[in-house]
C-alpha cells in the first residue's frame, strides 16, 4: 500500500520534473503572476542572455504596487514609478505576456486578480515575485513567493529549483465567535507560533473553523502564512472552492470542468498522514486581534494592554520589544482600546475583496468617521470596485466619510503617494507592521476590516463587538 501523504506531498510529487541525489528538485510551475516591481531585472536578464519566455500562455502580468489610487486619467506623476510601469508594458509586449494595465477593469492586486480570473486552480503550482503568493493556497494551489532571479528562472524554464519543505498542520477546531474573522484567526496563529514558527514548512490549515470560512476568508489566512515564516499555506479544496471558480474567465469549461472537479476532489491529506509539526487552536477562544508592535507576531486580543518588556525573559526579545514600543510611541500597560489613531486603511491582498468591504461597510453604515481620522478604502481590483459600487458600498463609505479609491497595493507598502507621515498611527487591514512599512516613521496596527472600520469611527482601536455588529 502507498504511504499516506499530505496535500502538500501530493501536489509536490505530481510536479516533479527531476530529482537529484542530493534532494534538489526541479518543480514544474503551472502559473506565474508577474508585477512591475520584481520583474524588470528578470526580463533584462532574459534579454542579456537572448532567452525567451518559455510559456507566455501560463504567465499573467499586472501593474499593482506602484499605481496611483487617485484619478488615473492624469497618468503617473512619480517618474520612477512611471518608468517601472512602462518597463512592464514594454516587457510584456516584447515577450508576449498578457498584461492587465492600469486602465483595465481587470487590473488589481496580483493576488486578488489571480483567483478572480480563475487563473489560480486547485492542485496546480504557482509562483509570483511577491511573498504573499501564499494567498493562492486557499484553493489548494501550491504557491510560492520568489525573488527576481527565480522569476527569471521560471520565465525561462517554467520550473523552479527547490528542496522539499517540512509538513506542518495548523488545526483550528470549533466555531469562531461572532465578530471574529479569518484575519483574527491568522493573527492569533502568528501570535502563537511567531514570525519564524513556520520557517522551512508548508503549512496546511485544517479544522472546523477553517472549513467554515468562505473562500475569501481562506485567502486572508493563507495570505499571511508568510508572516509566520512559512514557504506556503494550503487549504484543501472543497465544494466552496469549486463554486467560487466555476465560470471564471480562465477556469476550465464544459467537460474539462467536470473532469477537473473530479480530480480536485481527491486533493486532500490522507487520514493517517503524518506532519512534522502539528498545532491546534480552539476557534472559540479567539478574540478580535490587533498588533501593538513592529512584527506581526506582536499581536494581542483587543481586550488586552500594551505588554511590559520587563515581563520578557529573553534579552534579545526584550530589546526588540523596547525598540518596538519606542518606535510605536506606546507606554506599557496602556489598554489597547485607548490607542488613538490618525489614519485607517482598508485594502491590500489580505483584505480588499468584496466580503472584506461588505464587513467594513456594515460597521460604517449610518455612522461617521471620527473628526481626527482620515480613512481610505482601496478595493483589491477594478472588478471588486465595480461589484462594491453595484451593491452601493461606495455610497455607504463615502457618506460615512471614508475616501473611496482606485485599486492597487496602495498604503500596504507606500510605494505610491499613499503613505503615512512620520509618527502617524494607522489602523490597517494589511499584513505588515514593520518599521516604515506604510511610510517612513509611520505606525501600523494590523486588524480585520470590521475592526478597522470600527477604529475609524471611534478614533481609537476598538472592539468591534462593542458596536453591536456581527
Amino acid at each position: 500500500m502507498n504511504r499516506p501523504t499530505t496535500l502538500y506531498d501530493k501536489i509536490w510529487e505530481s510536479h516533479l520534473v527531476d530529482e537529484r541525489d542530493d534532494g534538489t528538485c526541479l518543480l514544474y510551475i503551472d502559473r506565474h503572476l508577474v508585477h512591475e516591481v520584481t520583474s524588470p531585472q528578470a526580463f533584462e536578464g532574459l534579454r542579456n542572455t537572448k532567452r525567451s519566455v518559455r510559456r507566455p500562455d501560463l504567465t499573467l502580468a499586472v501593474a499593482d504596487h506602484n499605481v496611483p489610487t487617485s484619478d488615473r486619467s492624469i497618468g503617473i506623476e512619480d517618474e520612477e514609478s512611471r518608468i517601472q510601469i512602462e518597463a512592464l508594458d514594454q516587457n510584456c509586449a516584447d515577450f508576449g505576456v498578457e498584461l492587465y494595465d492600469m486602465n483595465d477593469i481587470r487590473q488589481g492586486i496580483c493576488h486578488v486578480i489571480g483567483p478572480e480570473q480563475g487563473f489560480t486552480l486547485p492542485g496546480t503550482t504557482m509562483v509570483c515575485g511577491d511573498s504573499h503568493t501564499a494567498t493562492h493556497g486557499a484553493f489548494g494551489c501550491l504557491a510560492f513567493g520568489i525573488g527576481t532571479s527565480e522569476v527569471e528562472h521560471v520565465l525561462a524554464t517554467q520550473t523552479m529549483i527547490q528542496t522539499k519543505a517540512k509538513n506542518m498542520r495548523v488545526t483550528v477546531d470549533g466555531e469562531l465567535p461572532i465578530g471574529v474573522t479569518a484575519k483574527d484567526m491568522i493573527l492569533a496563529i502568528i501570535g502563537e507560533i511567531g514570525t519564524a514558527g513556520g520557517t522551512g514548512c508548508v503549512v496546511e490549515f485544517a479544522g472546523e473553523a477553517v472549513r467554515a470560512l468562505s473562500v475569501e476568508g481562506r485567502m486572508t489566512m493563507c495570505n499571511m502564512t508568510i508572516e509566520a515564516g512559512a514557504r506556503a499555506g494550503l487549504i484543501a479544496p472543497d465544494e466552496k472552492t469549486f463554486e467560487y471558480l466555476k465560470g471564471r474567465p480562465k477556469s476550465p469549461k464544459g467537460s474539462t470542468w467536470e473532469a477537473s472537479v473530479e480530480c480536485w476532489k481527491t486533493l486532500k491529506t490522507d487520514n493517517d498522514a503524518s506532519f512534522d509539526i502539528e498545532i491546534t487552536l480552539q476557534g472559540g477562544d479567539i478574540i478580535p486581534q490587533v498588533t501593538w508592535g513592529t512584527s506581526p507576531e506582536d499581536v494581542l486580543p483587543i481586550t488586552e494592554r500594551v505588554p511590559h518588556p520587563t515581563d520578557e525573559t529573553d534579552p534579545n526579545r526584550r530589546k526588540k520589544m523596547e525598540r518596538s514600543l519606542e518606535y510605536m510611541g506606546l507606554e506599557p500597560g496602556l489598554p489597547l482600546k485607548e490607542i488613538k489613531i490618525d489614519r485607517m486603511f482598508i485594502g491590500s491582498c489580505t483584505n480588499s475583496r468584496i466580503e472584506d468591504l461588505r464587513a467594513a461597510a456594515q460597521v460604517a453604515d449610518g455612522r461617521k468617521v471620527a473628526d481626527h481620522v482620515s480613512a481610505m478604502v482601496v478595493p483589491g481590483s477594478g472588478l471588486v470596485k465595480e461589484q462594491a459600487e453595484q451593491e452601493g458600498l461606495d455610497k455607504v463609505f463615502i457618506e460615512a466619510g471614508f475616501d473611496w479609491r482606485e485599486p492597487g497595493c496602495s498604503m500596504c507598502l507606500g510605494m505610491n503617494p499613499d503613505k503615512l507621515a512620520p509618527g502617524e498611527r494607522s489602523a490597517s487591514t494589511s499584513n505588515r507592521n514593520f518599521e516604515g512599512r506604510q511610510g517612513p516613521g509611520g505606525r501600523t496596527h494590523l486588524l480585520s476590516p470590521a475592526m478597522a472600520a470600527a477604529a475609524a469611527i471611534k478614533g481609537y482601536l476598538t472592539d468591534v463587538r462593542d458596536l453591536g455588529v456581527d
Partner: protein, 201 residues
C-alpha cells in the same frame, strides 16, 4: 554570479532579531529597473537620520566596521517580502556572508543567487561569533566554503552545513538557468504528460 570560496574579513555584529526586508531596504528604493547601485540605500532608516546624515550609533557607520564584509546577525534575519533588492543592496554594499541562527526562506534563496553565502549555526555558536565581532576591526573571521568551516577571532572553529547544490553553484559562480535548460528534454516530457492527464493545468 560572483564566486565565493574563502573570505577573511571584518564581521559586524547586528544582534537585532527579525531584521525584515523593509529594514534592509525600504520600499521607496524599489522603484528601479536595475539590480545595481542599491548599496547606498542599505539599512537606510537605521543608517541615516531624517536629514540624511549618518547615525553614529549604527554598527556599519562605526569606523571599526566600515569595511565589514560579514554580518553576524540575530535570529530570523531577512523575514518579510521577497524583494531581491535586499541581497542586491547587501552585495552592492560589500557584504558577502551573513551568519545567523536562522534566515527567512525566500531571503535565503535570493542571497545565494547573488553570490552571498548565508550560514546557519546553533544559537550558542552565533553568540560566540557575535562576541568576537563586537571587538571591532581587529577581529576578523575566516569563512571557508569548500571546507564548510568558520574560524573565529580566537581561532575557535565552527563547522556548518550547506545544501550541496547551493554550495556547488556558489563555489563555481554557476548560472542555474543554464543548468536547468540542459534538462529541456525532461521538462518537455513533463508538459506532454500534463497535457494528456490534466489539460486544464
Amino acid at each position: 554570479m560572483q564566486k565565493f570560496d574563502k573570505l577573511t574579513a571584518v564581521a559586524a555584529p547586528l544582534p537585532t532579531i527579525n531584521v525584515d526586508t523593509d529594514m534592509i531596504i525600504p520600499a521607496r528604493f524599489l522603484k528601479t529597473i536595475k539590480r545595481t547601485g542599491l548599496g547606498k540605500s542599505l539599512f537606510y532608516t537605521l543608517r541615516f537620520d531624517e536629514k540624511g546624515n549618518e547615525r553614529e550609533d549604527f554598527v556599519l557607520n562605526k569606523t571599526a566596521y566600515k569595511n565589514a564584509e560579514i554580518l553576524v546577525a540575530g535570529d530570523n534575519f531577512g523575514c518579510g517580502s521577497s524583494r531581491e533588492h535586499a541581497p542586491w543592496a547587501l552585495e552592492d554594499f560589500g557584504i558577502r556572508c551573513i551568519i545567523s541562527s536562522s534566515f527567512a526562506d525566500i531571503f535565503y534563496n535570493n542571497s545565494f543567487k547573488n553570490g552571498i553565502l548565508l550560514i546557519k549555526l546553533p544559537q550558542e555558536d552565533v553568540d560566540k561569533l557575535m562576541e568576537g565581532a563586537e571587538r571591532g576591526s581587529n577581529s576578523t573571521i575566516t569563512v571557508d566554503l569548500d571546507a564548510q568551516k568558520i574560524t573565529g577571532p580566537d581561532d575557535g572553529v565552527f563547522e556548518f552545513d550547506i545544501d550541496p547544490y547551493k554550495k556547488n553553484c556558489l563555489l563555481n559562480g554557476l548560472d542555474d538557468i543554464g543548468l536547468t535548460m540542459q534538462k529541456e528534454g525532461k521538462i518537455h516530457a513533463f508538459e506532454e504528460r500534463l497535457k494528456a492527464t490534466q489539460p486544464w493545468a
